[in-house]
């Protein structure tokens, strides 16, 4: 508990993976890893690009603690997604599974600039976003496998993860449909004077949906504190951005809504941009943030990911822009950690993921009554038979 509070004080809300993190962090700190909160000033390598707004400064303040936490959290996310890959291939997870590896810097950087008064709503690539908002790896795995201990009681699956306390409104399957919802969340925040913003996240494929522009118009008209975060991984399923959009400069597509283009593979750039945008949104209204990011896996587990892009491209991005490697280089060059200490963090993270996985596998399937629960607020109000057509499961109240 004390460790979590210390990290909170370190600036922004950092990931709180309940329980399992504390011993690891203590153990790591005990080895002499520098987790000081002393500010370190860094320069963001890739400049921001602004549309109708002056971009923020490229100088960002961080600390050893924050960078270590970035590294650890992104590593846990990476391992979780890779574990989900093998779970899918061994048929523990069925249906659809959209993996986020490669894009971790976006949600980790965002969380460093947000707190629990802010809301996030995103599309279906939501496993890591859920973790960032306070979910646990166990909840994610259990939900993926459709078990009771999942965050949505096993009824949502990969695409529908939610966290009420963390203000994470999911997890949405229909592309682009979550953006007007984001405008609504922001209205509530503004009206109730919560001093928080909503991040309505979408992808480059969804950027061509009409409802996004409707949402942008409404939020600009009413000065709603919403940030439209376009996670541009350059491929909408198998379609490259230049083949589906006349203007792939998604940060400019808001027109009268100012925009910022950010290197989405750099945690610190994302943190800086979101911090800047949050201040802007609370005062003025919506802003579009285009995160230039990349996913290593295909669109989903049924997509090899190599029919519409070359393997060279994928490995090129992995070598040059991988978010975890970038933080690793920072940690090593600023002598915050040694190679051995980082290896220990990785080992602990792997163990955490494996423990969560084995616990999730033991979780039971939801009860059959759950099929009829929560369709409406009170019981359904009609007669519905169970699978054998004899037993009445739900009746009129």
């Amino acid at each position: 508990m004390a460790v979590r509070q210390a990290l909170r004080r370190a600036g922004g809300r950092l990931l709180a993976t309940q329980g399992a993190m504390a011993p690891a962090a203590l153990g790591v700190a005990g080895r002499g890893l520098s987790t000081s909160a002393e500010p370190i000033t860094l320069e963001i390598p890739v400049p921001f690009k602004g549309h109708n707004v002056e971009p923020p400064s490229r100088t960002v303040e961080t600390s050893a603690q924050e960078l270590t936490e970035f590294f650890r959290t992104m590593f846990v996310m990476r391992r979780m997604e890779i574990a989900a890959d093998s779970l899918y291939k061994s048929k523990f997870i069925r249906g659809f599974c959209h993996l986020y590896d490669g894009q971790e810097a976006v949600c980790v950087g965002m969380e460093a600039a947000l707190n629990d008064k802010d809301c996030i709503i995103t599309a279906y690539r939501d496993h890591c976003t859920h973790l960032g908002r306070g979910g646990t790896v166990l909840e994610v795995f259990a939900e993926l496998m459709g078990r009771k201990d999942g965050c949505s009681l096993g009824k949502g699956g990969s695409m529908h993860m939610y966290n009420k306390k963390g203000g994470f409104y999911g997890g949405n399957g229909i592309v682009g449909a979550q953006t007007p919802l984001g405008a609504g969340l922001a209205f509530a925040q503004k009206y109730l004077k919560v001093e928080g913003v909503t991040l309505a996240m979408y992808g480059d494929g969804a950027a061509n949906q009409g409802q996004l522009f409707e949402a942008m118009n409404i939020s600009a008209l009413w000065d709603l504190p919403v940030l439209y975060v376009c996670e541009n991984n350059h491929y909408g399923m198998g379609t490259a951005e230049w083949r589906s959009a006349k203007s792939p400069e998604y940060y400019k597509r808001g027109d009268y809504v100012p925009g910022l283009k950010v290197d989405g593979m750099d945690c610190l750039a994302v943190k800086q941009a979101v911090k800047f945008a949050k201040e802007y949104a609370l005062k003025n209204g919506p802003m579009v943030l285009e995160m230039d990011t990349y996913r290593y896996h295909g669109h989903s587990m049924s997509d090899p990911g190599s029919t519409y892009r070359t393997r060279d491209e994928i490995s090129g991005v992995r070598q040059e822009r991988d978010p975890i490697e970038r933080i690793r280089k920072l940690l090593l060059s600023h002598e915050i950690a040694t190679v051995a200490e980082l290896k220990q963090i990785e080992k602990d993270a792997k163990k955490e993921v494996e423990d969560a996985l084995s616990k999730a596998k033991e979780s039971p399937s939801p009860d059959s009554e759950e099929l009829f629960s929560n369709i409406y607020r009170k019981s359904y109000g009609a007669k519905s038979y169970g699978a054998d057509r004899k037993e009445v499961v739900v009746t009129l109240p």
Binding site: R94, G95, F96, G146, G154, K155, G156, G157, M159, H160, G173, I174, V175, G176, G205, A206, N208, Q209, G210, Q211, G236, M237, G238, T239, R243, S244, A245, T307, S365, P366, S368, E370, L371, F372, I375, Y380, A382, S384, G386, A387, D388, R389
Partner: protein, 375 residues
Amino acid sequence: MGGRRASLPLVSRLCTSVKPRNNWVQKRSFITAKDLVVEEQPSGEEEKRAVTNKLNLFSAVNQALLTVLESDPKSYVFGEDVGFGGVFRCTTGLRDRFGKHRVFNTPLCEQAILGFGIGLASMGNRAIAEIQFADYIFPALDQIVNEAAKYRYRSGNLFNCGGLTVRAPYGAVGHGGHYHSQSPEAFFCHVPGIKVVIPRSPAQAKGLLLASIRDPNPVVFFEPKMLYRMAVEEVPVDDYTLPLSSAEVMRKGSDITLVGWGAQLTLMEQACDEASKEGISCELIDLRTLIPWDKELVEASVNKTGRLLVSHEAPLTGGFGAEIAASITESCFLRLEAPVSRVCGLDTPFPLVFEPFYMPTKNKILDAIKASVKF
């Protein structure tokens, strides 16, 4: 009934005589290539057998699209990812053959795809729009309901978008979850001005799709995605159409009439087989076109048997089975021996892990058949 069957064109009769063997193995069985047994048609004269190929559903759809693109230079196929062949391979090879000006990808915008298709069709072109999954058709619902269906009516027949055909894969697939398994046909059956067509097999699909594309009214064509690869049938290679608004009797019977469409018919056939072991003779009808539907055929059948069972994957309340039930009750009330039975999906969102409980399975249908017969 017999006369009606004999008046069908030769190829349809060949198709209807294709029968599966009776030893199903899987829970949800499909006609596979080795299960096909093509019956010899008894005929007095030397009939030329139509040349056929063993094709699955997506290949049959592909052939139909090929035929249209070849025969009509003003036909176009478009939708998300159709260029490389589509996520279900229905449009494979079309772009290479006919060029990117006739077979092209659209961005991710269903409403615009439909609106665009309606505009294209109203200038006298055959616009064949693909919606990647029927679950995604709802942004386009306004365009279909308010624009496509009413165009001819509100312009006093000055304009129409009859050249529009919307194709979408529908139905459960075992692991599709909320947004890759829905059967939204009921929403469209409520709209006068469009037609809704659902094939049950590859040969039916090719004929019905060709008929739908050439029909001078906008048609929404739902393809059972479960059957894309699994259903294999002898499909005639030439250009043929099957009549719209004409239901087909798949098997004759005298005790109860079963009405269904699409992939559900496979299960209903299995239930009929099991029922016949208990001495219940079932008449199975494939509705094929949902609106306007072949009321006469169904009424004639119910007047013969006195019992009706409708089955579909879509939820029970407000499903198209309700329309059939109400209509038949109106017209055949005094003949009915038992209430019309509906075996449908449950009134829940399409579930993930609970899919086996949600689905109208063979046993549910069989139970309902027996309950109806013993009423």
